[in-house]
């Protein structure tokens, strides 16, 4: 593939990165972490975009539909027709072909997994998926995240891809973003004007869209300390056993008052069944305060199903995905209960 022309800036600190983001916002600037998403997104298309000619065009007066290959690449200076659904906005053009990439590879302080005094865990945004996969602490206490890492892409993608990139890209099927929401994590966003923290579940707004401001960088993700008698799990349903984007992804977190006691906390996060990962809030109402059993889990799974909004696409139909949300939620709730009870 050939990439469009851009300049690459390499900040030495988060502050410098934020300053660069603010400074070049008007010219188009993107953050480059692992590159496994961004560089693929930026590549030039092989098939030119075809664009219908404007109405009332004088050049070809005789009847019939005319279309013209006009290069949609802003670099060529080709003109865009006015009106019609194929209009490409200036913003989208800048996102597709930024003047600057800010490569974060020198920001070592954004890498690493650190257990905090209160028992929370802090993961730097530039921590790679492989590093998460290999952390025994994460596997033990935030298992859903480790399982998301296990099945993300392939070992090569995991070596390069970062948790920050996976979350910031705001794709509904993202294998770290879904368990991150399921585990009730908090994201820290930094900019020149300061720092803010938001729940991971409030971050994504649509496919590729999030609440992140143009001058903000996601710096770290914090997962709450594991409660006693709690466990989590993540299942990725896909067609083959590696290199897949999930057809459906489900993360479940459950906490009990005691090994056989009632549910004190639960979160079910669904991936690839909506424009964003979905935190199925209605599941809480069904499970909190109750002793878990099969019937209860069935009701919870049905509640999750009702919150899913899948579409038909080439990976799967809405029909299949809906069924699988129900099935996987039910299965994972049982798996998580088993994990809690096996732990004792």
């Amino acid at each position: 593939m050939i990439l469009p022309r851009f300049d690459v800036l390499v900040p030495d600190s988060v502050e410098e990165a934020c300053a660069m983001l603010a400074e070049h916002a008007d010219e188009g600037v993107r953050l480059l972490a692992g590159g496994t998403d961004l560089l693929v997104e930026l590549r030039r298309p092989i098939i030119p975009q075809h664009v219908p000619r404007c109405d009332g065009c004088q050049e070809h007066p005789s009847g019939g539909i005319r279309t013209t290959i006009e290069c949609a690449s802003p670099e060529s200076g080709a003109l865009m027709p006015s009106g019609g659904s194929l209009r490409t906005s200036i913003t989208a053009a800048k996102k597709a072909s930024p003047a600057y990439l800010i490569s974060l590879h020198k920001l070592r302080n954004l890498k690493g997994v650190e257990r905090l005094p209160g028992g929370d865990i802090r993961i730097g945004a530039l921590t790679t998926v492989s590093e998460i996969e290999r952390s025994s602490d994460i596997r033990r206490h935030w298992t859903a995240l480790a399982e998301g890492a296990d099945h993300l892409g392939s070992p090569l993608v995991r070596n390069r891809g970062t948790i920050g990139g996976n979350i910031a890209n705001a794709r509904p099927a993202a294998d770290l973003a879904v368990p991150t929401i399921g585990l009730g994590a908090t994201l820290t966003l930094e900019s020149r004007s300061g720092t803010r923290s938001i729940p991971a579940s409030e971050f994504p707004r649509g496919p590729g869209l999030s609440v992140i401001k143009p001058d903000e960088i996601l710096t770290e993700i914090r997962y709450p300390a594991p409660l006693p008698y709690s466990a989590s799990a993540y299942y990725k349903l896909a067609n083959r056993k590696a290199l897949e984007i999930s057809t459906v992804g489900v993360a479940v977190y459950l906490a009990l008052e005691s090994p056989n006691g009632p549910v004190t906390d639960v979160r079910v996060a669904l991936g690839a069944v909506g424009p964003t990962p979905i935190l199925a809030e209605s599941v809480r109402d069904i499970l909190i305060g109750k002793i878990p059993d099969e019937t209860l889990f069935s009701s919870a799974a049905e509640a999750a199903l009702r919150e899913a909004r899948p579409i038909d696409d080439h990976r799967g139909s809405a029909w299949y995905r809906t069924q699988m949300v129900e099935l996987l939620t039910r299965r994972l709730l049982q798996i998580v209960i088993n994990r809690i009870q096996d732990d004792q």
Binding site: V8, V10, T36, L101, S103, P155, L156, N159, L243
Partner: protein
Amino acid sequence: MKKLISLTVNGIKHELAVEPRRTLLEVLREDLGLTGTKKGCGIGDCGACTVLLEGVATFSCLTLAIQADGCSIETVEGLAEGGRLNRLQQEFVNHGAVQCGFCTPGMLMTATELLRRNKHPDEKEIRRAISGNLCRCTGYQKIVEAIQAAGEKET
């Protein structure tokens, strides 16, 4: 505008002026003439471009050369020891793990990282480690057997 970077490839340091958008794969193949690393897809789906970047198996097609500035890179050309095939390469030859050979350099680099981390991987671990390296010729069987044999021979 080109940027000056320094890449240490197979132990040799190179100073290069590269356009920011050039990938590590392009620089290795075109600027350094190291054509052993292959381009199968250019977008990180096949693993043919795998190199070791600071010892980590990495897509060179999705790594900008600038991101590798100051780093050490190992490619397939650096595996042989004193002109002789190393143990892993020899097992690939012996086991018939090579047919068209296009996936082979990537496979070798991924396997090299694996064997450094895990001296005696079992079949499951090997299959998982190479799951990002696609091969259309072999069905993976003989590749797995070769890597396993290379692991066993380590004392």
